[in-house]
Amino acid sequence: MRKGYFVIVLFICLATGGFTFIYKNKEATTAIHFKNLVGNKELKLFDETYTNNFGEPFVINKFRYYISHISIVDGSDKEINLSNNYYLVNEDDSLSKMIQLPAAGIKSISFLIGVDSAKNISGVQTGSLDPMNGMFWTWNSGYVFAKLEGQSDSSHAPAHSFTWDVGGFRARENALRRIKLNVPAGRSSADNVIVVQADILKWFSGAHPLKISQSPVCHQPGVLAMQIADNYSAMFSIAP
């Protein structure tokens, strides 16, 4: 009798654990796939020379940006906030370009490009926010929100460098930008991948025309960083 009792308890424990596991896996999810483009060409690091709207040639070595405070409206018009997740999208790391969201039939998605001020000032963070990822200014505390680096013959900086590191969380130098994207209607509700395209050409033209020949380097918060942020906040779109 005793033995039987224990076996039952053990079975219930295992079964509950198992069901929870299965249930979790069956939760509705949608994958956001970030696809970095230059115009309509898919971005290739190092090997390809692109041209911006001003006819300036450039090669890209690094392209990274932080996505945080994601908020989504799902198929049943429920708003889901994922304020504790910080993603570093890194062109050099294909895994980093895929984000899983716990919702289905997403109607719209909004997110911050960058890292909120609280995380900039409260000590050393881990994971995607680990300063080891090369997205942190050590001498003037703060995250680099987005980074576009390479070479350009139009750059007068040493080694023809073209390095736009954008950040700044303080009031007058705030480079945080919120993006809101509506998912085009008429998508199949079974389609659980959303491709978010990021067009690098928008970094140069948009609210502010920014030439590599005039400002090849941005390494600190300030006016230039905010202008680049204004521009790149228009770089995202959802592929049809």
């Binding site: 033995k3 053990l10 050393v124 505390s141 300030g222």
Partner: protein
């Protein structure tokens, strides 16, 4: 019956593991706020001080391996016998025969400071170690390499586990350990402190010096920390080789041009040279600046518009008073010396 035995044995094992782990819990250190001092600004809840964390921080602080070519540690420019500033150097020396643009500040009473560096660019103590570690004219290493080196070292693996409960070594844990060590660098036992506690008495020149100090210096060098940690323009002319505009570099505001953080005067007698770029080699140079040489600019501090009148007599008395801020129990505390030493050996400084 067999199932019962298995369950019993597993329970016993779990209990055993829990008990062993409990025995390995790091031992907490109580941070003591000296009587009459304000509450510290550092959030100890986010990084509770432990003996193991402190010892790990101490090892990291004195480890040259953290630099690119294993020649420079934090302690190279923050020497205990020099009040954790650099003895005798105006500018700090870095990796591969480089010079920095600043005079290493003394590390003491850091728990009461909100921002770090002469320009206050670093907004949290835990963020501070990354600047010297990665600056090309300081330790010249990448964070990635530092973490790799630590991971290859079994002693570190053991110490990280002892301090934080898991052998995980990352930037966060490394910096938290360094913070634990430097937070304990509290200097509060100088002759001045003893006089304030009623355990000693000033001799006449010290007492006269204290009176002058209270009249002419203490609005910025506020007791008991001997700084209000504000940024002020004290009429220091720009050096055109350093082009260091101080606070303006951080705020990009013209009003902050050539403003630097008010340094604490604790242990001032042994932390020469003085100033953000070490341009003053003695206290006498500093007095000369304030009473004569300083350049009053548009944004020079309002308290200094007429400079600070100081007679020769007064400078002597001030010097007598400032020497009472030397805290030998801090400068010779064996707990702050390199692991395995009773006091900082002089050979710790190579360059």
């Amino acid at each position: 019956m067999r199932i019962m035995t298995i369950i019993f044995i597993s329970l016993f094992c779990f209990a055993g593991i829990a008990w062993i782990n409990a025995g390995n819990k790091p031992s907490p250190i109580k941070f003591i706020v000296p009587p009459g001092w304000p509450q510290p600004l550092y959030n100890f809840k986010s990084n509770p001080l432990t003996k193991e964390g402190f010892e790990l921080g101490r090892k990291l602080f004195y480890d040259e391996k953290l630099s690119k070519d294993s020649t420079i540690s934090c302690a190279s420019c923050h020497q205990q016998f020099g009040g954790f500033a650099t003895y005798d150097h105006n500018l700090s020396h870095g990796y591969n025969n480089t010079l920095t643009t600043r005079n290493a500040p003394s590390l003491q009473n850091l728990a009461w400071q909100k921002e770090f560096m002469w320009d206050g660019g670093i907004v949290h103590l835990d963020l501070q170690p990354m600047a010297p570690l990665t600056a090309i004219n300081e330790m010249g290493e990448t964070l990635e390499n530092v973490i790799k080196k630590l991971n290859r070292d079994t002693a570190y693996k053991r110490m990280f586990k002892a301090a934080f409960g898991a052998p995980l070594i990352n930037t966060q844990k490394m910096n938290m350990a360094i913070s634990q060590f430097v937070l304990m660098l509290v200097s509060s036992n100088s002759k001045y402190d003893k006089v304030m506690r009623g355990a000693a008495a000033f001799i006449l020149p010290e007492k006269l010096g204290y009176d002058i100090f209270k009249k002419k210096c203490s609005s910025c060098h506020t007791e008991p920390l001997f700084s209000d940690f504000s940024y002020r323009n004290t009429g220091l002319k720009l050096d055109n080789t350093l082009n260091d505009y101080g606070r303006m570099k951080i705020t990009h505001d013209k009003k902050d041009s050539l403003k630097f953080k008010v340094p604490s005067l604790r242990n001032v007698a042994i932390t020469a040279p003085y100033g953000h770029d070490g341009r003053f080699f003695s206290l006498q140079n500093v007095y000369e600046h304030y009473r004569n040489k300083m350049v009053v600019m548009d944004n020079t501090d309002s308290l200094l518009l007429h400079k600070i009148p100081l007679s020769n007599y007064e400078t002597g008395q001030l010097t007598a008073f400032l020497h009472t801020l030397t805290d030998t129990s801090f400068l010779k505390n064996p707990a702050f010396a390199p692991p395995g030493y009773d006091i900082t050996p002089v050979f710790i400084h190579y360059h």
